[in-house]
Structure formats: C-alpha cells, structure tokens
C-alpha cells in the first residue's frame, strides 16, 4: 500500500518528534526565578544579561516587539505576563493614564539616582515614579555628503527637487508629521487643526520625491546608498556612520523631536522585586558602560562616564550637543486629534 505508507511513515515520525519535543520542553525550568523581559531587540548586551542570571540565580526570557503600539496592544488585550517593559516617552504618558504601569519602589533601585538630571524628571513622567529613562536620541537629517554637496541645516532641504527619488522618511506618522510641524514653526504635538493641515499640505509636496517610508531597513538604505538624504534617529545614524563614513548627521535649525526609551514595570507583574533588582543592576556604573557601548545608544548614567571609552564619549551623533538639545521637543499624546493625524497619514501613504 504505497500511498498510505507514504503518509503513515512521516506522520508517525512527526508525532514522535512532537511528543518528544513537548515532553522535553515541559521538563525544563527548575526552581529558578524567571524574569520576563519584553523589549526592543538587541536592547541589552548578552553578557550583561547572562551575568545578571548568574548573580541573581534567575532565568531571563527576552521577548521582543518592534513598536510601542504593539506593546500597548498586547498589554491592553490580555494579562501581562511580563515583568520588564520598555515603552518610549509618549507611550509612558499614555500608559500612566491608562493605569498600566506599576509604581517603582525606588528603595529597591538606588542606582536610579545615577541618571543625568536632564532625564531624571522628564515631561512624560514628571514624578519619575513609573519609569526610568534608559536611552535617548534625536531625530535629525542624515545625508550622504558624496552626493549631497549643499549645506544641510534646515528641514526645507529635504524638499530640494535635486534629491527626487533619493529621499527616505521614517515610517512613523508622529515622527514625519511632527517634523513637518516643526519645520513650519509649530509644536510637533499640536492639536490645532489648521496648523496640522498646513504641515500635511507641505508634506504632500514632498511625498512624490520620497523613495519610501521605512523604519526597519532605513540603515541599509543609507549604507547601500539607495538614498542620499532623509530623517533618521541619532543612534541609527551613528551605526550608519560606522559602516559608511560618507554619511553625516545634523539637527536642523528649526528644531527636532527628542525621544527616550524607558524601563518600566507593567501592572500586575509577577516578579516585581526581581524586576526592580534588574533595573538597579542595569544602572550599576560598570554594567551601564558595557551595556550602552554594546548597543550603541546614549548612556543616561552619569556615574558610568569614567568607564566608557574615549571614542564613545566623543561621538557627537550619540551624545547630542547641548545647543542642539535646546532646540528639541518631546512628542506627547494628542488625544482625540490622533484620528486626524491618522487620517492624514492614510492620505499621504496611499496616494489618495
């Protein structure tokens, strides 16, 4: 019976493999405490995680998301099984209002005092009770000086017809619309419909010159020189510069959006104490230095400075200068206007 055995053999094999696998996986995990971390990818140095596991006799499960909204959606739709999450600035504000975050017990996190004063009481969490800034960056203009020979110092430069088809913008409605708002002298989180319309009309003139909206592969696009100019996060810019030295990064004169990733604990987390210990551990000066140099973003830990390399501290792209920082603005929740923002975004990205 050739035909049935053709099915039966692989079937039985599959069943055996599956049963074996399930049995094996069920047998794992002894008496160790587990810490469930839900964060961006590559947001920690592997060795830092491993030494935490050793020191505190714990197992870290590291799950990832690639946008704040995915994090929010998952927390809102079901029970949080996570102990550590890393929402960005405006999302922290929203989560606090929605009651999704635990208050941090600062007694368990003495190292929180190491954070640079600029970031210890950010606008989205003024009391600092719910989150601690983990890393920050600025969204500026990156350009390839091999092809872009003009001086770039203004958002207006993106509109230059000479760059048609070589412009890339982040695939993020708040970032892009915020950029156009700043360019026109408004707040990047305005709730004024006229200001919003003006900025969007401005963008509509730009979109035909844009090659693509991209957040995930934007670094590759710059490195491979598929694009010459566009909006980019400072940390990503530093990465690109390491691979392609022709790329420059600038914070335009009209201003820019500043953002921060934080570390926080969701409401109902099962291992709150262990989570707090983890946060404290992350901000040990030596651990901080190792961690942030590895992931390539700015370190908010003052006490870690002496442990960092010269190169890292001198990198202007990672450590935005104070005068540039003075022109930056945080994104905040826009309440009901979010629908208008989204509708304009739909218009811009669908060509309707």
């Amino acid at each position: 019976m050739g035909k049935t055995s053709f099915v039966a053999k692989p079937l039985t094999a599959t069943v055996l493999v599956m049963v074996l696998a399930l049995v094996l996986t069920a047998c794992g995990g002894g008496a160790k405490q587990t810490l469930n971390v839900f964060s961006w990818t590559d947001n920690f140095d592997e060795e830092v995680l491993e030494s935490f596991e050793e020191q505190f006799d714990a197992k870290i499960n590291y799950n990832t998301y690639s946008s704040n909204e995915e994090l929010l959606a998952k927390l809102q739709a079901g029970d949080s099984q996570y102990d550590i999450i890393q929402p960005s600035d405006y999302m922290v504000g929203t989560m606090i209002e929605l009651g999704l975050l635990e208050k941090l017990n600062k007694d368990n996190i003495p190292n929180a005092a190491n954070i640079v004063p600029t970031f210890s009481a950010p606008p989205f969490d003024p009391t600092g009770e719910y989150s601690i800034v983990y890393t920050w960056g600025v969204t500026g203009i990156a350009y390839n000086k091999k092809y872009v020979t003009d001086v770039i110092d203004s958002w207006e430069d993106l509109w230059n017809p000479a760059y048609k088809g070589k412009v890339v913008l982040l695939d993020d409605s708040r970032e892009v619309i915020g950029m156009a708002l700043i360019k026109n002298g408004f707040s990047n989180s305005t709730q004024n419909p006229d200001e919003l319309r003006k900025a969007v009309d401005d963008l509509k003139a730009l979109v035909p010159n844009v090659l693509a909206f991209d957040t995930d592969n934007i670094k590759q696009k710059f490195i491979a020189e598929e694009v010459w100019i566009g909006t980019l996060w400072s940390g990503d810019a530093a990465f690109v510069q390491a691979e392609n030295p022709d790329v420059e990064f600038v914070v335009p004169k009209e201003g820019a959006t500043i953002w921060a990733d934080t570390v926080a604990i969701p409401k109902g987390a099962k291992n709150k104490e262990l989570a707090e210990k983890f946060i404290n551990y992350l901000f040990e000066p030596e651990v901080s230095a190792k961690n942030f140099e590895s992931i390539g973003y700015g370190d908010p830990n003052e006490k870690a400075r002496p442990f960092h390399s010269e190169e890292y501290l001198a990198n202007k792209t990672i450590f935005t200068s104070d005068e540039d920082l003075a022109r930056t603005e945080w994104l905040v929740d826009v309440g009901d206007m979010l629908q208008e923002y989204d509708r304009y975004w739909t218009e811009l990205t669908s060509g309707h």
Binding site: L22, A73, D79, I223
Partner: protein
C-alpha cells in the same frame, strides 16, 4: 503511453506519412509540452532566486546586507552559540508540526462530512473566513478570548491559533479533491460488500492522500511563517522564529538569520533525500517479494 506522455509512434501516421486525424495536434502538443517544461524550470529558478541570495549573503563578512565584504563562516559559528535563535527555531518547528497534525486530524473528517451536505458552497465560504480576516484582528481577538477565559499564554495557545487557520486549508484542499472523485468508486466498493468504514479507509482515504499531504505542507509553511497572530498569543517562553526575526528588523537583520535559513534548507533537503532513499529500499523489497504485481 511513454514515460513523459509522448505518444509519437509510427502507428500514428497514415500511409502518406501525415499524422492521422486524431494525431494532428501531436507535433504542436510536443511543442507545448516542451514550452511548459522550459517555463516550469524558469519559474522554479525565480522561486529559488531569493534563496540563493540569502545563502550567498550568509557568507558575507558584513553585518548589514548592503554590499559584499568578503567570505566568512563566522555567522554559522555565532549562530550555533545563539541560544535565543535556536530556542525560537525549536519552538517554531514543534508548533508547526503539532498544528499541522491536529489540523489534518480535524480537517479531513470535516471535509468528508461537508462533502455530503447540500449547501457545500456556503459551508466552504465559512471556512475561508479565517484566512480572510486580517491577522491583527484574529490575533487580538484570540488574545482577548484567552484572557477572558484566563488561559495562560504559551505554546499551546499558539498551537490553538495556528490550527485555527490551518484547518480551513485542509478542508478546502480535501473538498476540492472530493469534488473531482465522484461516487462510483464508493458505490462500487459497497456493491462488493465493503462496510462504510472499509470504504473510507481503503478507497476514499488513499485517493485523498495527495490533497492531505499538500495541505499539510502548506499548513506547515503557514505556521512556520506566521508573525502577527503569534505575536499576540505567544507567552514569554514560547518565542518563535518569526517573532525573533521581526524583532531583529529594527536593529538590522543579522546574517545569522541567513545562515539559519541556509541550514534549514540543507537539513530539509537531507531529510527528504534520506526519506526517499529509505522509501526506495522499501519499494525494492516489496517488489522483490511480489514479482507479479504491477507498479503504478
């Protein structure tokens, strides 16, 4: 008929050497056949083009898939040390295997039953729905369901979700096959005294095997590839390969993933070549035992 179906033989031509009436299209049939064969090979090449690129870049000495910087094995080495990827891979394979199997066990009886109902089109329509619903809708809906029922998220919630979108594939494939079979064979079997159970297992089921196997193959790939639904219903210890890969995307997909893809291809090829060899040895043995039986 010859091995590949050509039936060009001397007997097809009339005394004047022209093809007989029934064979007038024979030459053009061969032309068509060759064209289709050439096309199929070209199509296969196109299907595999990305695979070739991926495997090539797994040896690229640069973390970003931008330009070629030199040959290296280092990604394969670091892959073997990357626990998270390997864990994700193991989870993905287990989940896919389990989902495919359960979907087949549920789908075949459902299809057989549906086949006998009156308004088959309506019921078929119902089974298309899971594929039709946007993934994010399904993912959130299932998460809401699980959390209302207080079911903790883990491998089994992912399997449940995957089975839900694989069952329709099985049902639809088997139904399509059943539509083409017709009742005579089953009736013949009954006439010869077979019970319904015997008819099903000895007559119907073997005829359904290609449909079932194809559906299982497709389901397996669908389960391996699913991201959005899995994202919402996976627990902290059940991360799958797509979750890992999509998460990597923001920081740049490491060539480790290319190396992993290359290894998966290699392993699958080896497994199937092995299975084929085992099969052939079995066939030779069977043939030796019954020399008078004709092999179809």
């Amino acid at each position: 008929m010859g091995r590949n179906g050509t039936d060009l033989s001397g007997a097809d031509r009339d005394t004047a050497g022209r093809p007989e009436r029934g064979n007038r299209g024979v030459t053009s049939r061969t032309v068509y056949r060759r064209a289709v064969a050439a096309y199929s090979v070209a199509m296969l090449a196109v299907l595999h083009a990305p695979l070739v690129v991926l495997i090539a870049y797994s040896f690229n000495d640069s973390r970003i898939n931008a330009a070629w910087s030199g040959f290296t094995w280092k990604w394969y080495v670091s892959l073997l040390g990357n626990e998270r990827v390997l864990e994700a891979l193991g989870n993905s394979l287990t989940i896919a295997a389990a989902s495919t199997l359960i979907a087949a066990l549920l789908g075949v009886p459902a299809a057989v039953w549906l086949h006998r109902r009156k308004r088959q089109a309506l019921w078929s329509g119902l089974f298309y729905l899971p594929q039709l619903m946007p993934d994010i809708f399904m993912g959130l809906a299932l998460l809401i369901l699980f959390s209302r029922l207080d079911i903790p998220l883990g491998k089994w919630t992912v399997i449940a979700a995957h089975v839900t979108f694989c069952v329709p594939v099985v049902v639809l494939f088997v139904l399509a096959r059943l539509s083409g079979i017709g009742r005579e064979l089953e009736e013949a079997a009954s006439d010869l005294g077979a019970t319904p159970r015997q008819t099903f297992f000895r007559v119907t089921l073997p005829l359904l095997v290609p449909a079932i196997v194809s559906a299982m193959l497709l389901s397996f790939t669908m389960s391996l590839d699913d991201f959005v639904i899995t994202f919402f219903v996976a627990g902290p210890e059940s991360t799958t390969l797509p979750l890992y890969i999509y998460g990597l995307v923001k920081r740049g997909v490491s060539p480790e993933v290319n190396a992993l893809s290359a290894l998966m291809v290699a392993v699958t090829v080896l497994l199937l070549v092995g299975a084929e060899l085992v099969r052939r040895r079995g066939e030779t043995a069977a043939r030796a035992a019954q020399p008078t039986r004709k092999e179809t």
